[in-house]
């Protein structure tokens, strides 16, 4: 990480004495200013709430300036902004965030929008749905759901256009499932989600790597039409070598970032540990004859590896039908930052016809 020149820090200090604190994490003046503005807005809001509750007289009362200062100090230690503020906008929703659960990323937001448009245009409008009765009730399985952001946003985008939807979110962490349920109720109460979401969306604790566990759960609601997932995809190496930032390494749960070592690896035809989730999800999708699979990958190399893995697996299972595998967003040579583009996350989309 390049050192920030003293002149820049001094300049920032003259604008606001709290800016140098934020510089430690933001590394740029415009971002630091933005974060300071968001933090100040929240501090004022919280102080106002305290004032309304008439806790002013108690000795634990802190004014908004004190609150803001402590927030900035926490941020300078690397605590993610979303954990300090307690929420993160995701599409039109507001997702609560809490220590121990991965924060929704803006890339995931883009991918979810794309997945929703795929579902609406390709599957329903063109009548590519494999069986007739499936069109009436759309079943979506969201594996490694975390805060439940993908499930909730998909419901918000799709439910108005489909007769019935049923979305199941699965995660191994009990904290994540608790938070996802809280997010569901919170967003309904705020009016961002329709009331039917309470019936349509369910969250359940389960291990994606344990095939019996996950297979049993999906049978319960019927085979899904769509599987979407943002599984842990960071390799041990890139978790340690500095590609993963300090803030993520220290404060976000490792279980949501790096796939576990051990017994899951031994019998699989894989040589990379970070891909094991994709193996399990893809083989599950072939077993259940899912018509659309959307998988988020860390970079384009991993995307091509997953696409190849999908081809290998397809030959093992019979009656897979016509598969269309693609990586989105498509590699674009004309775009600026050619090399950098390959290190950006992407999604592998597997569509199955007939």
């Amino acid at each position: 990480m390049p050192r920030i020149p003293n002149r820049t820090i001094l300049n920032a200090y003259q604008q606001d004495p709290l800016l140098p604190l934020l510089f430690q994490e933001c590394r740029s003046l415009s971002l630091a200013k933005n974060e300071l503005r968001w933090l100040r807005d929240r501090a004022v809001q919280v102080a106002q709430l305290n004032l309304a509750k008439r806790t002013v007289r108690s000795k634990y009362f802190i004014g908004w300036r004190g609150l803001l200062r402590s927030m900035c100090r926490a941020r300078s230690r690397g605590l993610p902004l979303q954990y300090i503020l307690g929420d993160q906008p995701f599409g039109n929703l507001d997702i609560r965030c809490k220590r121990g659960v991965l924060i929704p990323r803006p890339e995931t937001e883009t991918f979810t929008f794309h997945a929703a448009s795929l579902i609406l245009h390709d599957m329903l409008k063109n009548g590519r749905s494999p069986t007739e009765n499936r069109a009436t009730c759309l079943r979506i399985l969201d594996l490694c759901t975390g805060t439940g952001c993908i499930s909730l946003l998909l419901h918000a985008l799709i439910a108005p256009h489909v007769q019935r939807t049923s979305i199941l979110g699965v995660d191994i962490s009990a904290t994540a499932i608790g938070l996802a349920r809280k997010n569901l109720i919170y967003n309904i109460r705020r009016g961002y989600l329709s009331d039917t979401a309470l019936m349509d969306i369910t969250f359940r604790q389960g291990n994606v790597l344990d095939i019996h566990d996950i297979f049993g759960s999906s049978i319960h609601t019927g085979p899904p039409d769509v599987i979407i997932s943002n599984p842990p995809y960071i390799s041990q190496k890139s978790f340690r070598d500095g590609t993963t930032t300090r803030s993520v390494r220290r404060f976000e749960p490792r279980i949501a970032l790096v796939p576990p070592k051990g017994e899951y690896m031994s019998e699989l035809p894989l040589n990379r540990q970070e891909d094991i989730f994709y193996y399990h999800i893809l083989s599950l999708s072939f077993r259940l004859k899912t018509s659309l699979v959307v998988l988020e990958c860390g970079d384009r190399l991993q995307g091509t590896r997953v696409a190849a893995l999908c081809n290998d697996l397809a030959s093992e299972f019979e009656q897979v039908g016509n598969l269309h595998i693609c990586i989105w967003p498509a590699a674009d040579e004309s775009m600026t930052g050619g090399d950098l583009q390959y290190s950006e996350p992407c999604v592998v989309i597997v569509q199955r016809y007939g």
Binding site: A47, P89, R105, P106, E109, T243, V248, G298, M335
Partner: protein, 191 residues
């Protein structure tokens, strides 16, 4: 004690939020401002989705789970005119996009219609409103000054006027007190 009382209006003013104990007093609007606002603005220019390139600032290297980005800036490029607009006002990407679209519509319209565009008319109205407000306040202070001066001036004038007249008045008065009792005496005597 008096000092603290004296400072209270300033403290109230510096508070960043209105407290429940001190609700803001309702503002009074004059008729002229209302009539100006009543005229409908021309409708906002509708920009086709096909003409806009949306970029979420790509080419910035690794992201996803590895990095927790708080910056969700949205950049819009209007293909036919080449206008570029960027917004990073809020943390929400969709909100930023909405804001950027509004700014883009205003900019493109200004480019196309010039003085007849919505933004230009809006700015023009704001300027006129401000000018009339300034004029009013100037008039008010002038009247206040005049008002303050005139009572003082009247008193002063009255004294000034009295002073030169005093000679005559005194002269006139000197006669009357002498006259009056004499008249009274005459009247009493007549009775």
């Amino acid at each position: 004690m008096f000092r603290s009382l004296h400072l209270t209006p300033y403290i109230k003013f510096k508070r960043p939020f209105p407290t429940p104990h001190h609700p803001p007093t309702p503002r009074l609007f004059t008729l002229s401002a209302l009539s100006l606002a009543n005229k409908a603005l021309p409708p906002r220019l509708k920009i086709e989705d096909a003409d806009v390139i949306i970029s979420y600032l790509k080419g910035t290297g690794p992201g996803g789970q590895k990095i927790n980005k708080t910056n969700s800036a949205v950049q819009l490029i209007h293909k036919p005119t080449g206008v570029v607009v960027k917004s990073q006002a809020t943390r929400s990407r969709s909100q930023n996009e909405k804001i950027a679209r509004q700014i883009l519509a205003d900019k493109v319209e200004q480019l196309l219609h010039g003085d007849q565009s919505r933004a230009a008319i809006k700015a023009d109205r704001a300027r006129k409103k401000k000018a009339s407000k300034m004029k009013k306040s100037r008039r008010k202070y002038r009247e206040l000054e005049d008002g303050n001066e005139s009572p003082g001036a009247e008193e002063h004038d009255a004294q000034d006027v009295n002073d030169p007249n005093e000679g005559e008045a005194l002269g006139a008065e000197e006669q009357s007190p002498h006259q009056l009792p004499s008249q009274q005496h005459v009247q009493q005597e007549q009775k």
